[in-house]
């Protein structure tokens, strides 16, 4: 790879990450922070799941997911079912309150995205998303 290109990509990736982090307060759209939003995003499509499976899917430590689930459970956005196959585990399921909050957050995020990507063509967004996914699923 050309040196200059790597340099620029490295810098731009780092900046993206930095900005996403520092804009965190902005990204708390509605009552959901990013962690909660991602969990509900996942559980909306794949309920019910155990803590471990969620951790693997999101590539985070189980202890992190355990706490995050406890947090959104306290708010009533998910509930636990006993896992009939394993007494140690429980299965996490999104509630209707969770669905509602998720949809509210999503609407807010759509608006934000529409502003940010206003000048992009559909084709460009598709390409960019494809590259992102490819990078995420590498290695």
């Amino acid at each position: 790879m050309e040196q200059k290109l790597m340099d620029t990509m490295d810098f731009e990736l780092a900046m993206l990450i930095r900005r996403a982090l520092s804009v965190q307060s902005e990204m708390r759209l509605g009552k959901l922070d990013r962690a909660a939003y991602l969990l509900l995003y996942l559980l909306k499509n794949k309920s019910p799941m155990g803590i471990k499976a969620i951790a693997e899917e999101l590539r985070l430590d189980g202890s992190t997911i355990s706490r995050q689930i406890a947090s959104i459970e306290a708010k009533g956005y998910v509930e636990r079912l006993p896992d009939p196959k394993d007494g140690r585990a429980s299965l996490i399921q999104i509630t209707s309150a969770g669905m509602d909050e998720f949809m509210l957050a999503k609407t807010a995020r759509v608006q934000r995205f529409e502003e940010i990507f206003e000048s992009w063509t559909e084709e460009e967004m598709v390409q960019f998303t494809t590259y992102l996914a490819r990078l995420n699923h590498a290695e």
Copy 2:
């Protein structure tokens, strides 16, 4: 924007950010963490700069930069010059030790990038980088 596309992009961006965070220990290549690397990256090209200008360039709070500079100053990677025009400020300049560490970290990062982007064409990387920069510089 199409709903599904926004959804996917949102998820993939969040995942990228998440992974970049949790891979932090890996990203401490050589003696430089990401913050130090970015500061030196900037100062290598634009020394000397004041704290405030650095904060604006990296879009972080001045207090954050003040601490980060103090940290790499203690390691001898940057030094302060009095600002002849303003007694409150100082100008931060990369040292030769800072240059050396930067180059070491850079070599390690190049290797890591080459692994990750092994299957990408130059053209794809250029495009992806262009999209990243465009996103970063949007407001």
